[in-house]
């Protein structure tokens, strides 16, 4: 009897088990980020003078990162498209373009934070900056995790194995992009 991984079978819901699991992860992340951003919105509305601190966020860096994440979302959905077509070479290339986007995002964020910390805007300097570094930092950890998972999936794709995982990591990556779509106006535009 040959072994078939459970993640490739359908659950009773009619959805592939692995994909259903990723959607549950996305659901749990909604509560994590929703709670964090909800708490930030509450405090920001209460202390409108936080605008004095938020004026020092680097909107250009935030905008570059938004562009990077939107583009990487396109790359991963194209990787999924080519995985469906069983074109494992193109799929591999687009996964690595997405990983390149993740690394670029982290590079821009590192330079941005280095500058802000150099100017004295640290995680303990003001409650606004505590929220800023926590929200962006937790998001950054998700970017790192997603990039690492994509590396492993890409090598399976090269061996033409587990191509269904490209869709699953795609769902996760689009959610990381979605969170940034809301983080950007909250932290960088609302000044």
């Amino acid at each position: 009897m040959s072994f078939v991984p459970d993640a490739t079978k359908r659950s009773n819901t009619g959805i592939m088990t692995g994909k259903l699991a990723v959607w549950w992860i996305v659901g749990s992340e909604i509560v994590i980020f929703g709670g964090l951003l909800g708490a930030y919105i509450m405090m920001r509305l209460k202390y409108d003078f936080w605008a004095e601190q938020s004026a020092f966020t680097n909107t250009m860096a935030g905008a570059i990162n938004t562009f990077i994440l939107l583009t990487s979302s396109l790359f991963i959905v194209l990787a999924h498209h080519y995985a469906e077509k069983k074109d494992h070479i193109r799929c591999f290339i687009y996964i690595w373009l997405t990983i390149g986007g993740a690394l670029s995002f982290l590079l821009v964020k590192s330079l941005e934070w280095a500058s802000e910390i150099h100017h004295g805007y640290t995680i303990t300097s003001h409650l606004f900056w505590s929220f800023y570094y926590t929200a962006a930092g937790v998001h950054g950890l998700h970017v790192i995790a997603g990039a690492i998972i994509m590396v492993f999936i890409s090598f399976d794709v090269l061996k033409q194995k587990n191509l269904h995982r490209v869709e699953n990591i795609g769902i996760y990556w689009h959610f990381v992009d979605l969170v940034w779509i809301f983080l950007f106006p909250l932290l960088y535009i609302a000044k």
Partner: protein, 118 residues
């Protein structure tokens, strides 16, 4: 692999271009300096972009309804959290309590609104 409507790369590139245009509008809108325009362009467009990514890139528009129920229930949980604590967190004092550190901060910055309007 999952069953879905066949969309080629062109469709995804079209959605990407729409997202970029919306992104540029959301950058320009707040520069004009009108509060309601900032809210619409920065936050309203963020919601539109999120829906585009969710429906076209995450393919929620063809996903089973169960996934929608899971996501909506998680969003509702966030709304319940916000509604439950906001009445206390967003105030500095109530009938039988005072948040003295909060009151002190607000007092220190009480001229902020007046100064920012000038």
């Amino acid at each position: 692999m999952s069953e879905h409507v066949e969309h080629g790369p062109r469709h995804y590139v079209k959605i990407y271009i729409v997202l970029l245009v919306l992104f540029v509008v959301s950058l320009i809108g707040p520069e004009i300096g009108i509060r309601w325009l900032t809210l619409i362009t920065a936050f309203g467009i963020a919601v539109v972009k999120a829906l585009l990514v969710a429906s076209h890139f995450m393919q929620l528009n063809i996903e089973k309804k169960l996934i929608w129920y899971v996501l909506i229930s998680m969003l509702l949980a966030c709304v319940v959290f916000y509604a439950g604590v906001a009445p206390d967190v967003m105030r500095a004092e109530g009938e039988n309590w005072k948040n003295t550190s909060s009151l002190k901060l607000i007092e220190e910055h009480k001229n902020y609104k007046a100064e920012s309007e000038h």
